[in-house]
Point group: C2
Chain length 151, copies 2
Amino acid sequence: MHPKQIDVHDTADERLRRDGQRYTTNRRVLIDALSAADRPVTVLELIEVAPGMAQSSAYRNLSVLEEAGVVRRLVTADDTSRYELAEDLTGHHHHLICEKCGSVIDIDVPADLEEGVMSFSSAVAESHGFRIEHHRLDLIGVCPSCSTSAH
Amino acid sequence: MHPKQIDVHDTADERLRRDGQRYTTNRRVLIDALSAADRPVTVLELIEVAPGMAQSSAYRNLSVLEEAGVVRRLVTADDTSRYELAEDLTGHHHHLICEKCGSVIDIDVPADLEEGVMSFSSAVAESHGFRIEHHRLDLIGVCPSCSTSAH
DNA sequence: TTTACTGCAAAGGGTTTGCAACATG
DNA sequence: CATGTTGCAAACCCTTTGCAGTAAA
C-alpha cells in the first residue's frame, strides 16, 4: 500500500540521530508500546507497560521523541497528555473523543471530506499568515461506557 | 440574522437558575469579559480583567457556567484552560491554533465543508455507539509572531 | 434562615528539573 | 573520556478543595 515499507524503529533512530540523540532501550520500549496501541495513550499507561522506567524518563523521552517528530502529543478533556506515533508513521487519521472520561478512538475520514479540509486549510494559511502544520477534525461526545454508567 | 436576538446575560441567568444557581456579579463580569473577547481566553487573562475576583472563584464560576451550558472550556498546546461563550450564543466556529504559544484565533468554515463534517459525524455516531455532541475542526500551525521570533 | 457564593490558604496532581550515577559512541 | 541518559526526589504550576464568613432568595 505504501510506496515503501517504513520501519518505525529505523525511522525513530534516524530522526533522533539527526537531533544528536540516541535511540536507547527506554525509547524503543516507548515506541513499541505506542506501535502496539491503536489509539493515543497516556503517560501512565505507557509506564505500566514499561516496568522499571521512571516517570521522569518517560516524560523526558516522550518530549525528545516529539521534538524529533517521531511521536505527537495531544490533550483531551481530562488534562492529561496522550501520545501517538507521528502521522507519517501511522497514516493520517482523526479522533473520536469522550468528553466525560477523555478516552480517544482513532477514526478515518472520507477522502472527499479530507480534501475539503485541505483546501480550506490553504485558504486560511494565506489569509492569516500562519504556517499551518496540520489539522484536527475531532468528533466529541459521550462514549457508550460513559452514557451507561450513572453520571 | 437570527430568528430572535439573544441577550447573553438573560440566557446566562436563565440557564443558571435552571441549575439552582444564581447569576452573581462575579459571573456577570466573567460573561462580559468573554463576550468582549473574540477568541478563547485563559483564566489568568480573565482574572486580570476582573480585579478583586479570587482565582478560586474564577475557576469555580467558570465550572458552574460550563455545567449550565453558558461557556465552553478548551485546552490547546500549553496545558492551560481557555474559555469561550457557548456556541449557541456566539455562532458555530472553529479555531486556528499556534502550537508554539498556544494562542487561538476564531475562524469560520465554508458551509459545504461544514455539511460534510455533519454527515460524517452522523455516520460515526451510528457505527461507534457514541452520542456525538459536537466536533472541532482546528487548524494547527505557527502564528506570524512565533515564526518571526528566534527559536 | 436557608442555601448559594465568596476569599483565603492549603492541598492536589500531572509534569518538569537538579543532581549524581550510569551508559553509550 | 566526553556527552547523552537515567532514576530519585524535590520543585513547579495550574487547578481544586476545606472552611468560615457573607449575601441573596
